[in-house]
């Protein structure tokens, strides 16, 4: 079997496991509806969304020009599907609790048409994205999104690429497994991580939360384990001395927990090479922690860095 076919089978099998990791019928149904939603957008069969999304759908952060409702959602997908005719969302993970579903994936496409004023570069690009949906009576009623627009802009050559190794060339970290916890324990773990490490700056608490070999596919250049977490928290907290972070939504399962965050502060110190601007910024993020034996072993983050950079008046 060719490697590509094997990879394809593996992530599809993983998706089945992810759907049936839930035992509550509502959550299985909601996950399956989001799978069908993703497939409809991948196939560019946007009329299939009529069965999956309420007409008065609300987009929490509409893209420029996107109004409220299902028809405007379809229009927004066309704005991506037209410049990237082969656009594909490879669905890596789906997590559900109650009426909320988080979907995380990798998006690939070839930039063949004008995209928000950027002329076609004919480059094959790849970025990540996480979607949070609320469902009501088996249809989607509201959506939030975090996509790594910054990486997309860098690949198109619109925003400079930071120095250092190409993250795609770094081999993945170990796949650590262990006993699952409970939803309640994972929710408490996420809350403690945000409250202690990010809000209070008690960086050593990361030692208790993260496995020594934990890694993040979203930031593979960081050191493994708690040290990588401390590095990035220190970088943001020194750049924004009044840094704050809130958990707006949380979606927990026995072996993972996702959350949607809002964060902000005043830019008074160097941020990864960007000198202090004195400007106040506020931006969103979706994070997912995978938990084994009570410790975080893998984590994913999609941060709205583009909005942050625009607010600081740099890049974008």
């Amino acid at each position: 079997m060719p490697d590509d076919d094997l990879t394809d089978l593996k992530w599809k099998a993983n998706l089945i496991d992810r759907i049936y990791a839930s035992t509550r019928a509502e959550e299985i149904a909601n996950k399956a509806i989001i799978c069908r939603y993703v497939e409809a957008t991948n196939q560019n069969q946007l009329d299939l969304l009529d069965e999956l999304v309420w007409p008065d759908y609300v987009e929490a952060e509409p893209i420029p020009g996107q109004g409220p409702g299902l028809e405007e959602l379809k229009k927004a997908y066309r704005q991506f599907n037209t410049p990237f005719p082969d656009l594909k969302f490879i669905f890596d993970d789906v997590i559900a609790e109650g009426d909320l579903v988080v979907g995380r994936g990798i998006i690939t496409g070839t930039h063949e048409g004008e995209f928000f004023g950027i002329a076609p570069t004919h480059k094959k690009v790849r970025w990540t994205g996480t979607r949070l949906f609320r469902l009501k009576d088996l249809k989607v009623t509201k959506g939030w999104v975090n996509i790594d627009m910054m990486s997309l802009m860098q690949q198109m050559g619109v925003v400079p690429t930071p120095p250092g190794p190409d993250p795609s060339t770094i081999p993945p970290g170990p796949h650590i497994t262990g006993a699952p916890s409970t939803r309640e324990a994972n929710r408490a773990l996420m809350e403690r991580f945000i409250d202690e490490v990010w809000n209070k700056g008690n960086l050593d608490v990361a030692d208790e939360i993260f496995h020594p070999e934990a890694w993040s596919p979203s930031a593979p250049t960081l050191p493994p384990g708690p040290e990588g977490v401390k590095f990035i928290a220190r970088a943001f907290r020194s750049a924004f001395p009044d840094y704050w972070m809130t958990i707006d939504h949380i979606v927990a399962e026995p072996d993972r927990v996702a959350a949607r965050f809002t964060q902000g502060g005043t830019h008074q110190g160097d941020l990864m090479g960007i000198p202090a601007t004195g400007k106040t910024a506020k931006w969103t993020e979706t994070g997912i922690l995978r938990v084994a034996d009570g410790k975080v072993v893998e984590s994913w983050y999609d941060v709205d860095m583009l909005t942050l950079m625009q607010q600081l008046g740099v890049g974008g």
């Binding site: 089978l9 599809k12 099998a13 759907i19």
Partner: protein
């Protein structure tokens, strides 16, 4: 061929014809040992004979026109191995997933241990990936987007 194997094959044939295809759960006690264990039961299914009714009840809810056809049966000692073709229209919820109203065809392989002519243990692998692709939950393979498994036969 031992008489146990022969009895086991006949029992399995009745299971397919009467329980799966006709939905007659009254014969479950005749065909399954009271100590029946399903090693491949879906998560949350009850144990014992209630599990048989739950699993095939679920299939008949999801695919009310479901038809199983036995393509092959092989027996040795007290084990009967089966290859089955199933098909139906997904007009009801399937393991929690809302109906798609799409047709599906699939294969499953099962190993059944027979005791006194009744089924006492089961290990099986249904083509869950194939079913979920056809009811629109999992993306189809890149090259054969419209083709359903077995259409080529």
């Amino acid at each position: 061929m031992s008489s146990e194997i022969e009895a086991g094959k006949a029992t399995y044939q009745r299971m397919v014809d009467e329980v799966v295809n006709q939905g007659n759960f009254d014969v479950v006690e005749e065909l399954f040992d009271p100590a029946y264990v399903d090693h491949s039961a879906p998560p949350g299914a009850p144990g014992g004979l209630d599990g048989v009714k739950a699993v095939f009840g679920m299939f008949r809810t999801a695919f009310p026109d479901v038809k199983f056809e036995i393509m092959d049966m092989v027996g040795e000692d007290d084990i009967v191995a089966t290859l089955v073709h199933g098909e139906g229209t997904n007009t009801g919820p399937f393991m929690g997933i809302p109906a798609s109203n799409l047709p599906a065809k699939w294969r499953s392989v099962g190993f059944f241990r027979i005791k006194d002519g009744k089924i006492v243990e089961h290990w099986g692998i249904p083509d869950m990936l194939g079913i979920l692709i056809q009811i629109g939950v999992i993306p189809p393979p890149p090259d054969v987007k419209s083709a359903r498994p077995h259409d080529q036969e």
